[in-house]
Symmetry: C2
Subunit: 175 residues, 2 copies
């Protein structure tokens, strides 16, 4: 006689995260998710509104994880940038879910988005404008790298160093 673990929004989010992490977001179906929780697909709808909301829960859970690590990473621009890249490459299936879906702000812990934005602003030397330009660069480079869109012979280490150099130069120029 096996006992089934309690099913609630948290356990659903955890099971969904595990599926996405291993097999990508396309592998997340309401049926596979239900199976992982030992119930049938229609039962999920007693806990969540729809598949969209399941994804939003994972997004929220992992944005919190990212935020904590980003906050804790060394405080120089270079260290923040390295953390961003490493987090993304360590979580290739989760990254697009967290940073490339519509952000369900209503399910987010209060202030989390602002906290993360604040760290980027700090790394960019205090300018909101440069912070957005920097974030775009980090996000874009990660995305191109994850999709294998850069030429095969592209030296990614050197490219990331170039990004860091650019930010440091921009900060120095306004000091």
């Amino acid at each position: 006689m096996t006992i089934r673990k309690m099913v609630n929004r948290r356990s659903i989010a955890d099971a969904a995260r595990a599926i996405i992490e291993v097999n990508g977001i396309d592998a997340l179906s309401m049926r596979t998710l239900a199976a992982a929780l030992d119930i049938k697909a229609p039962s999920l709808y007693d806990h969540v509104k729809n598949r969209e909301e399941v994804i939003a829960l994972v997004q929220s859970e992992w944005l919190r994880d990212f935020g904590a690590g980003f906050e804790a990473a060394g405080k120089s621009p270079s260290e923040k940038i390295h953390f961003y890249r490493d987090w993304a490459l360590r979580n290739p299936n989760l990254y697009p879910v967290v940073f490339q879906q519509h952000l369900h702000r209503d399910l987010l812990p209060e202030g989390l988005e602002l906290q993360i934005l604040g760290i980027v602003v700090e790394a960019a030397g205090g300018s909101h404008l440069r912070a957005r330009a920097l974030w775009a660069q980090l996000h874009g480079l990660v995305d191109l790298e994850l999709h294998g869109r850069l030429p095969d012979d592209a030296d990614m280490e050197a490219t990331w160093r170039e990004v860091i150099r650019g930010v440091e130069a921009a900060i120095k120029s306004t000091e």
Copy 2:
């Protein structure tokens, strides 16, 4: 008596592009695509290998379109950057297909990828390294903008000006 237009790889690509353009890539199913061409879904497989290949055809068609426009755009970094942004925002449903899918290089016109890369290198003042950093920034900013991931009050015009300023400063610093 209605006559059906000829069905071939080109007409399939055109019909697929039209569907994606209007309703996004999720709306592209083999059944809706076949219906647009006045045939049944299984018949598509006499012309293409699978849905993946249909997408690759659209990707190839539009990368060529982008490349032609990018080439023709004014030759200053600022003008190239503006063209990139405008093209993306004018084609919000096509952009991810062209720049965020695995690139099927085997279906691409010879040299097209290198041509586009060359233009970015030129806009970046000749440095391959800075070209990748720049492309990442353009791609990332467009993606964040298309996904509405930046704060509502973010001044996008100013952010793009900041990107242009950064590139110009970087070029100047190595002249």
